[in-house]
């Protein structure tokens, strides 16, 4: 059986995280924590410290600065949800377990909402130890938009999305981790593919599809073993640009036609 393949940007990042047992909303997948070599996804990161760097620019830095200023910890880290808790990836990401509550929600409840009559507050919710990241780990969000240079130092493009394959090490003996399998590289900066890089299934309406596909006509699919140095500020490849596979190899069969 082939391992499951998903696109990090399309299927994971920015999706809603939902508690499987109650349907309550937990957070967004603001970023993904990577570790090991080849890198695999170990946790979902959320909150302003994860979203800020992905937003970039002044708003992003402002978001990070404010979150660090207000955090009680000395070295605040993004809110972390271990990947082995994930039970399903669909329109939303479902997680098991009992994730702790974000600080802003607790603050808003304690200081504003619970003080108003009729809020439904009964008891002080139990405080649980915060589960924040330990070591500063790599983040998948930092891969996106990064330039890619081939073995001769020529610019190939920038990373538009990352293909993940579920064939990594076992996480807590529950499920296999998603490892970084390929980089989807497009010739434009900050290009989003909007899901139109997939097979013939999701390619309507025609005009929208044609405009977006036209923007990444020269796109390349770079397997992780062709990447020599993943160090910032760019990915350096060990092959010349001419030997890279075109993006057309990404097509999946249309699920509606089996």
């Amino acid at each position: 059986m082939r391992a499951r393949e998903i696109h990090a940007g399309l299927h994971l990042l920015d999706r809603q995280v939902v508690r499987a047992s109650t349907g309550r909303l937990v957070c967004k997948v603001d970023d993904l924590e990577l570790s090991g070599d080849p890198p695999h996804v170990t946790a979902i990161l959320a909150g302003p410290l994860a979203l800020g760097p992905r937003l970039g620019g002044v708003p992003g830095r402002l978001m990070v600065a404010i979150a660090e200023l207000l955090s009680p910890q000395e070295h605040p880290r993004p809110w972390r949800l271990p990947m082995h808790l994930v039970t399903e990836l669909g329109g939303a990401v479902e997680v098991g377990g009992d994730p702790e509550e974000p600080a802003l929600e607790a603050w808003a409840r304690r200081n504003i909402v619970a003080k108003i009559p009729g809020s439904g507050a009964e008891e002080e919710p139990r405080e649980r130890p915060a589960r924040h990241g330990q070591a500063p780990a790599a983040r998948l969000g930092a891969y996106l938009g990064k330039p890619v240079l081939d073995s001769e130092g020529k610019l190939v493009g920038s990373v538009a999305d990352v293909r993940l394959r579920q064939d990594g090490p076992l996480l807590m003996e529950v499920q296999q981790a998603f490892t970084v399998a390929d980089l989807i590289v497009v010739p434009h900066w900050h290009s989003r593919l909007f899901g139109y890089e997939r097979g013939p299934g999701g390619r309507a309406p025609k005009l929208v599809s044609a405009i977006i596909r036209g923007r990444f006509a020269g796109g390349r699919l770079v397997p992780w073993d062709q990447v020599e140095t993943p160090a910032p500020p760019a990915f350096r490849l060990n092959v010349p640009a001419s030997r890279l596979a075109p993006l057309t190899d990404l097509y999946e069969p249309d699920p509606r036609r089996g």
Partner: protein
């Protein structure tokens, strides 16, 4: 029988909920200045809102995801935050206009200055959002808003020259310049297609836990209710065209906008139209305030909604409280609510494509929709509207500057 009842109720709610301060102001202004020559824009707007409301309702029913979830997911954090800022700003401005409209209706009913009503209206609106169930809230104010049908009755009672009205459909008055004409066309389109309507509609679908079984009911509500709401808008414009256009009078206050009903139906008509305007604007106050909460919560992934107790959606309820206070404060600066409405319409026209593009994309994504992806007809129409909305968005702000907001 029970199902027929639900469908009827849903349609009636959609008619009443369609008309808000924006539709009221835009149609009365346009009717008085341009007669029925911009009626085609209302038709275009109604078809557009039907199309995208149906898509977002279908997505909500099949995947359980509301519209702003999709905006963030498909456009990414950066374009998403731009859309969030624009949509939140427009919804807040509209919320202020609705609070102003409801207060003005109370002034007309009681003679007490509208500024004294603003804090009361804002407080009652917040209490309703705090305590009342979603379904009850939507139904009560939607049905009360239906009283606005008096505009149609008044039009019939006024006995206009129907041939003259029909003649206006194709020939705009010569006195007005082309930029002004197009400026009001943009405002009318903004009034019919305001993004908060789809935020509210799809989030409401998620709150009421729609499934595939509810698709038929949701579709009927949209395809019958919204066009009938559009007819109501046209009746408002026709009333203004009958009374004000021949004497070349400009409509500037909410009181003047209701005047044709008084002329046609006397005191009872006037009382009913004041009630209708109050219900429509107060209902829309709730919708826009909730939309502010929905957009912000759905972008950041917070727990939102009225299905859970307020303590369990603390950030959502904090946002509701803060936006209602801010909007009331804006109206209390004695800024003219009618002017706020006009500006909010044009800004919302400028923000339209960023909201509707991800809806169109997800409605075509088989990962989300399975067998329920868009058909060819929806896609052809959807593509046409994306092009149209892009042109409108680009033209909206320059037109506003060039015409000094339609003067």
């Amino acid at each position: 029988m029970k199902k027929a009842f639900a469908v009827t109720l849903g349609i009636l709610t959609a008619i009443g909920g369609f008309v808000d301060i924006g539709d009221l102001v835009a149609n009365a202004l346009v009717g008085a200045r341009f007669g029925m020559s911009l009626a085609w824009v209302v038709v275009v707007g109604v078809i557009g809102i039907c199309l995208f409301a149906e898509m977002s309702g279908r997505i909500a029913a099949v995947s359980g995801r509301p519209v702003f979830d999709l905006v963030r997911e498909r456009l990414g954090p950066r374009a998403g935050v731009v859309n969030l800022a624009a949509s939140f700003f427009v919804s807040l401005l509209t919320l202020a206009a609705e609070i102003g409209g409801a207060s003005l209706a109370l002034e007309l009913a009681t003679g007490v200055n509208y500024l004294l009503w603003v804090p009361g209206v804002a407080f009652v609106a917040w209490v309703v959002m705090w305590r009342v169930k979603f379904e009850t809230m939507e139904r009560v104010f939607g049905l009360l808003g239906l009283v606005l049908v008096v505009f149609a009755v008044a039009l019939w009672a006024l006995g206009p020259d129907w041939g003259e009205l029909a003649g206006q459909l194709t020939s705009p008055p010569q006195a007005e310049g082309a930029p002004t004409y197009w400026y009001y066309a943009v405002a009318l389109l903004g009034a019919a297609m305001t993004p908060y309507e789809v935020f509210f509609f799809s989030s409401g679908g998620v709150e009421e836990r729609w499934t595939r079984k509810d698709l038929a009911v949701a579709r009927t509500n949209v395809f019958v209710g919204f066009p009938l709401g559009g007819l109501l808008s046209l009746a408002i414009a026709a009333c203004a065209a009958t009374v004000f256009l021949p004497v070349e009078a400009e409509v500037e206050t909410l009181g003047q906008m209701m005047l044709p009903v008084g002329l046609g139906l006397g005191k009872i008509g006037l009382a009913l139209v004041i009630l209708g305007v109050f219900a429509a604007t107060f209902g829309a106050t709730l919708e826009t305030a909730l939309s502010c909460g929905y957009t912000l919560s759905q972008y950041f992934g917070w727990q939102w909604g009225k299905l859970v107790r307020p303590v369990e959606a603390a950030r959502f309820h904090t946002v509701l409280l803060v936006t209602v206070v801010l909007a009331a404060a804006l109206i209390l600066t004695t800024i003219d609510p009618i002017m706020v409405t006009e500006y909010s319409l044009v800004f919302s026209a400028a923000a339209l494509p960023l909201t509707y593009l991800p809806v169109l994309m997800i409605a075509n994504d088989p990962d989300y929709m399975g067998d329920h992806v868009n058909g060819r007809f929806s896609n052809a129409l959807g593509t046409f509207y994306m092009l149209l909305l892009t042109v409108v968005a680009v033209a909206a702000i320059p037109l506003m500057i060039a015409t000094k907001a339609g003067q």
